[in-house]
Amino acid sequence: MAEPLLELRNLTTVFPMRRGAVNAVSGVNLRVQPGEILGIVGESGCGKSSVLLSILRLIRQPGHIAAGNIFFKGRDLRRLPQKKMRAIRGNEISMIFQDPLSTLNPVFPVGEQIREAMRLHGIANASPLPWPLAGRRSHEKQRVLDVMAEVGIPAPEARYRAYPHEFSGGMQQRALIAIALVCEPTLLLADEPTTALDVTIQAQIMEVMRRVNREHGAGIILVTHNLGLAAEFCDNIAVMYAGRIVERGPAQQVVDNPQHPYTRGLLACLPQISRQRSRIDPIPGEVPDLAGLPPGCAFIPRCSLARDACNSVDLRLRSLQANQYARCILYEDGVRYTVEEFS
């Protein structure tokens, strides 16, 4: 396999709190190949957004990356000086946030904001003709209009001067994607990009992202709480719980044949149209407080298969079948029990 686009090794991000240190991300290992779409799935507070912010080194103080490496095209981003890091953000790695209206600047026209993103990284100078012949401005503007059209903003010429509040939610998200795309990043980080949107608009936005992935070969990490969305859109998914990856593998394989009790639980409590059930089986309890989490598996209090040994073993992601991994005592020691055998 070729060199991965992004590789996280033992990434650990810590937020010191009054109640104690919170390991928002603890020991995450991930790989994204060029052109791959990876989904990170989990409930709120599982650390999925912190993974993205850690990659860009945008974790807010006093939070910090406590351990691990972030290799992007072979370079460790964690060791990069701030200045070089800034050159990577928005240029080689772009991020799309959940709430477009708070990300766009309300007092500048959308087109100008896209152009600004381009200018920041010096892309604009690449005009084929020397300056007096091709006005730099018009060349830049043309590129902005192209990108706007590409993300499906109709009549980009007319919309160039429009302000963010004049856009609908879906259009704002497209504008944000345009900003992320204008520098042709090789890696796109999307943090719940469609959570604030309606389903028909969500379908439009995912279509745009799919096209970006196909036509530019950009790798995408999609963070979402929506298992259905991840299953449809992603090549591989990683399920996170309490700061750790508990299961990862090819998307459809994971949802068709989940191995970790948490993934099974998540799928069982999802109302699904194909399955007519009078009741759904919820996972009992709630997500634990990450401060002062005891060692061992964090899912124990909610797991129906939990046993004494779960408390003591330092669990690792174990390979199961065809690229599927799970972190559970079921799969320790190389012995692979079925759930039935185990319980």
Binding site: E43, D198, V199, A203, A231, P271, R279, V287
Partner: protein, 326 residues
């Protein structure tokens, strides 16, 4: 799922209900630019019936008027036109004894300065429970019923998680002993695993207290799971209404089809052919002429779609408002 809706009188009926909100133009705009006051036609002529014991799902995207309609039915808003009947009687202010509402946002729906005891106690007092000891006993009973512990009774809302807060909101609604409950997106702010717990709780309570639900949601899989019948709204109008299974198996209105195709699903077999709608929902201030969906419709029949609002017709047991079926 048992289809409870028997024949007989409906419990709640909406008859051509409209709710318009005025948007006044500024004085300066009126004087200088000749602007006029505008109307947001949030609900623009909706009729349907809900029979005792059933759950009616109300779906649509943001701005379709589903939340406004729910609030009109819960008597929080006075309808601009049309009427609401409860057991065939027009309803007035005492309606609250029969109808309660469960809100979407578990953070703003509980008064942050009140303890759980105060929150539920007020509802019990409204029900007419004067004796403080009885009230205390009933409060604790309700708390246990919704899955909270008695020691939570002196805590403030901020000390609870989102799911627990939603349970408190449910207990408050139940305290009045309503027959009809409007549940306005009660689980959409919750995490998946918590969502399932609350959905199950709502179902148990329905059995136990003979409740009738209007369940408002944008999540079609939740609607599918809970509802006996589904009403699909778009821009203040009902597009389609049908029994749940029939609607999901055989959606007739193009909007319903697009909506169903847009939900991401886990199971491969469930995935429908992708229909990507153009554009966004138009503004309810200036809705399109004719069928409100015609600006995004992929199956337009002809010029009539743009000119005249389609009459409602009964097709294969569905109530549809679309020219394709006229």
């Amino acid at each position: 799922m048992s289809r409870r809706a028997a024949n007989g009188a409906p419990l709640v009926e909406a008859r051509d209900v409209k709710k318009h909100f005025p948007v006044p133009a500024s004085l300066l705009g009126k004087l200088l630019a000749g602007q006029k006051d505008q109307l947001v036609k949030a609900v623009d002529g909706v009729s349907f019936k809900i029979w005792p014991g059933e759950t009616v799902g109300l779906v649509g995207e943001s701005g379709c008027g589903k939340t406004t309609l729910g609030r009109v039915l819960a008597r929080l808003y006075e309808p601009t036109a049309g009427e609401i009947l409860f057991r065939d009687w027009p309803v007035h202010s005492s309606f609250f004894r029969h109808t309660q509402i469960i809100f979407q946002n578990p953070y703003s729906s509980l008064n942050p300065r009140k303890t759980v005891r105060d929150i539920i106690g007020v509802a019990l007092r409204q029900r007419g429970l004067r004796d403080p000891q009885e009230r205390e006993a009933e409060t604790l009973r309700l708390l246990r019923r919704v899955g909270l512990s008695e020691r939570h009774v002196d805590a403030y809302p901020h000390q609870f998680s989102g799911g627990q807060r939603q349970r408190i909101g449910i207990a408050r609604a139940l305290a009045i002993q309503p027959q009809f409950v409007v549940a306005d997106e009660p689980v959409s702010a919750l995490d998946v695993s918590i969502q399932a717990q609350v959905i199950n709780l709502l179902q148990e309570l329905q059995e136990e207290f003979d409740l009738t639900y209007l369940f408002i949601a944008h999540d079609l899989s939740v609607i599918h799971h809970l509802s006996d019948r589904v009403v699909v709204m778009y821009l203040g109008h009902v597009m389609e209404e049908a029994e749940t299974e029939s609607l999901f198996a055989n959606p007739l209105h193009p909007y319903t089809q697009a909506l169903l195709a847009a939900i991401p699903v886990v199971d491969k077999e469930d995935r429908r052919e992708r229909i990507i709608l153009e554009g966004a929902v138009p503004s309810p201030i200036d809705p399109p002429s004719g069928c409100p969906f015609h600006t995004r419709c992929f199956a337009k029949k002809g010029p009539e779609c743009e000119q005249e609002y389609p009459p409602e017709v009964q097709v294969q047991g569905h109530r549809v408002a679309c020219w394709l079926y006229v």
